[in-house]
């Protein structure tokens, strides 16, 4: 009994001593990269699960871009290496993988941080404190916070900009009432507040319906919207929801014109529902995914499409591939302009990027990063309207 008591006391004091020691220990410093080292890009994406296809396309965008950059001498003379890790769509798993990379002998120079805002937001604190540059397609405006996340540059413009195209369209057509439907998840809730804000002082009335992401029938909210009789229906949805919306509209025999946002377009509605159900449907499409606007494309667009197609089928909307593609092109350019490849130099160069004679990025006419803004700043005319046609190479035909 006595001995065991003693052992217990010993163990307790060991813990206490460790606790004290821990308070005083600091974190290890990081080692600077050699110029001959490869430029390490780590993509942490949900390679399995519902977003696996999308992630695959994003990876292809990174790989294609890396090949082109490497052929041109790499980023600041460093060869680009792309490593892919599976976050399983779990933010905690994403951070676990990220930590392992940061603490490995070969920490990343750039992280492609997740396909969703949840993954990105979870990884950003660690990325910021490690001083590692990152980017992603996650477009929640919380992420556009250079003060908190100085090294993150969002590659997808947020919907409070994208929706301007729809608002302009509604104004031009003289619509008085807009119907809006979205899922009640992170994306839908955010989009709901974006459209509400943008229509606030336009004199256009807004009626909205939301639905649960697990719903398998949307007759009820669509019927309710029909009863409100809007001049146009603006839809924000993805996956099966897109199909349920158009299916219900057809069943309700409702001939209201419909505009789908970029998420609707990205879900490729023509693959889910019959053409008859898509009559009068238009989609908000980035320039790069509208073949009808081929003339307005940036010079390297076809080169980008070809390069990515060589990696694999572009089964999703092309921006899923072109945005990560652009990310590496931007980094290569920034390295040239800064004549350095450390994170702070690249960050500074990206914030004041000078447009070169030959633009190598493809998705936006300009990205417009600045010290205060780390999300693409888009011009009107970048978002165009297309019919809900089949996607080929990620582009509406």
């Amino acid at each position: 009994m006595k001995i065991t008591r003693l052992l217990a006391a010993g163990a307790m004091s060991a813990i206490a001593a460790l606790a004290l020691a821990a308070c005083s220990s600091g974190s290890a410093g990081s080692d600077a990269a050699e110029a001959s080292d490869p430029f390490r890009v780590v993509a942490i994406l949900p390679m399995t699960g519902p977003l696996s296809k999308q992630s695959e396309v994003q990876v292809n965008g990174l790989k294609a871009s890396a090949k082109i950059v490497n052929a041109d001498g790499g980023i600041g003379g460093r060869d680009v290496e792309v490593k892919v890790l599976d976050s399983k769509l779990d933010p905690t798993e994403a951070v676990t993988l990220l930590q392992e990379e940061i603490n490995s002998d070969t920490p990343p120079d750039y992280v492609w941080a997740g396909a969703t805002s949840n993954e990105a937001l979870a990884m950003l604190p660690a990325l910021s404190s490690a001083g590692i540059l990152s980017g992603s397609t996650a477009a929640d405006i919380k992420i556009n916070n250079p003060e908190l996340y100085p090294y993150h540059f969002g590659m997808q413009s947020a919907n409070n900009q994208n929706y301007q195209a729809f608002v302009d369209y509604a104004k031009n057509k003289g619509f008085k009432k807009v119907g809006f439907i979205s899922a009640n998840d992170a994306l839908g809730t955010y989009n709901h507040s974006a459209i509400t804000e943008m229509l606030a002082n336009t004199g256009i009335e807004l009626v909205t319906q939301s639905y649960d992401t697990t719903a398998t029938d949307l007759t009820a909210p669509m019927d309710a919207l029909k009863a409100a009789d809007p001049d146009v229906l603006f839809a924000s949805s993805y996956g099966s929801g897109v199909g349920y919306i158009f299916d219900a509209r057809q069943k309700l025999d409702w001939d209201v014109p419909v505009v789908g946002d970029n998420a609707v377009g990205g879900s490729n509605p023509a693959a889910i529902v019959a053409p008859e159900a898509l009559k009068g449907v238009q989609l908000l499409s980035p320039l790069v995914s509208a073949t009808a606007h081929k003339d307005e494309w940036l010079p390297d667009t076809q080169k980008m499409i070809d390069a990515i197609s060589a990696e694999g089928d572009i089964s999703q909307i092309v921006t899923q591939a072109s945005l990560p593609y652009d990310a590496l092109q931007l980094l290569a350019l920034a390295a040239k302009q800064a004549s350095a490849t450390d994170a702070d130099a690249l960050k500074g160069a990206l914030e004041g990027l000078k447009t070169p004679d030959h633009v190598t990025w493809t998705s936006y006419p300009a990205y417009g990063f600045s010290p205060e803004n780390h999300f693409p700043k888009i011009e009107s005319g970048y978002i165009v309207f297309t019919g809900a046609t089949k996607l080929v190479n990620g582009q509406f035909q």
Binding site: D223, K251, A274
Partner: protein, 287 residues
């Protein structure tokens, strides 16, 4: 409004179909099979493969769906349920969940994550009693009602069905009386599997074939079963229709996402006021 009513009944019929599957397995096998709704998903993807991709004749596709789901049912019983017999402790929740995950995972690998369309019957729309409703929706409601009545009748009239009910009431007594409990257990999974597989294609015309379908329906099926009464086949039908109707009508009349909230309220009310369900008499032993 009538259109919404029809839509509610249709969704209710789908929930009822899943709930009936749960109850068949619960009565004959004595467990709640978490993978039950995956039978519907199997049927859905078989239909996509047979009808959308390969243009095979419908009867052949249905036959394949039934056989495949029934086989999966047998495998489920042999691998995930039989080894746990008489051990208690709800472990079947974990193993059948494992089966469910495997099925969903395979669907994801084979067919990808995106929803795909299935057309079993023409996409015709009718105006019935002042509401718009599609042919496949009417069929779903009809099938659920007929199936509930048929299964109920079978359970209470046939020798096997009665043996199942006796087993559900007292497994030990049943096995002493010479009822083949093992055989019944297999039968419970085969029937639920074949049933789900058979109706899956029709469900898919409404919901599309998508790998996450099983999980979504699994939960709503539970709610339907809880509302209707655990162990009661007719209760499954009533519970499913109540859940579907409440969900649709609340969403339509109160608005926005009140559909789900209304379902929760109904479920809470039933659980607190009538824990045995609207129809059930709590005759099946649940522990």
């Amino acid at each position: 409004m009538m259109t919404t009513l029809w839509a509610g009944l249709t969704m209710g019929a789908i929930y009822a179909i899943v709930a009936i599957g749960y109850n068949i397995t619960l009565t004959l096998t004595g467990v709640i099979n978490f993978a039950n709704a995956q039978f519907v998903m199997i049927g859905a993807f078989v239909a996509y493969w047979g009808l959308t991709q390969n243009d095979l004749p419908l009867p052949l596709v249905l036959l394949v769906a039934v056989i495949l789901s029934a086989l999966v049912g047998i495998l489920t019983e042999l691998i995930a349920i039989r080894p746990l017999r008489n051990r208690g402790g709800h472990t079947e929740l974990v193993t059948t969940l494992g089966v469910s995950t495997v099925i969903a995972g395979l669907a994801l690998v084979v067919f990808g994550p995106d929803p795909v369309p299935v057309n079993v019957v023409p996409t015709e729309t009718f105006n019935v009693l002042g509401g718009q409703v599609r042919l496949n929706e009417l069929l779903l409601i009809l099938v659920a009602a007929v199936a509930a009545l048929a299964v109920h009748w079978w359970m209470h009239r046939s020798k096997l069905g009665l043996a199942g009910l006796a087993r559900a009431e007292d497994p030990e007594a049943a096995s002493i009386r010479g009822i083949n409990v093992k055989g019944l257990a297999i039968l419970g999974l085969v029937l639920a599997g074949a049933f789900g597989g058979l109706i899956g294609p029709l469900v898919a015309q409404k919901t599309f074939a998508v790998a996450t379908l099983g999980l979504v329906l699994a939960l709503k099926g539970f709610v339907a079963m809880a509302v209707g009464g655990v162990g009661s086949i007719l209760g499954s039908l009533v519970g499913g229709l109540i859940v579907g109707l409440v969900e649709a009508l609340a969403a339509r009349s109160i608005g926005n996402d009140f559909g789900e909230i209304a379902v929760v309220v109904v479920l809470l009310a039933v659980l607190l006021l009538r824990p045995t369900g609207v129809v059930g008499r709590g005759q099946v032993r649940l522990v």
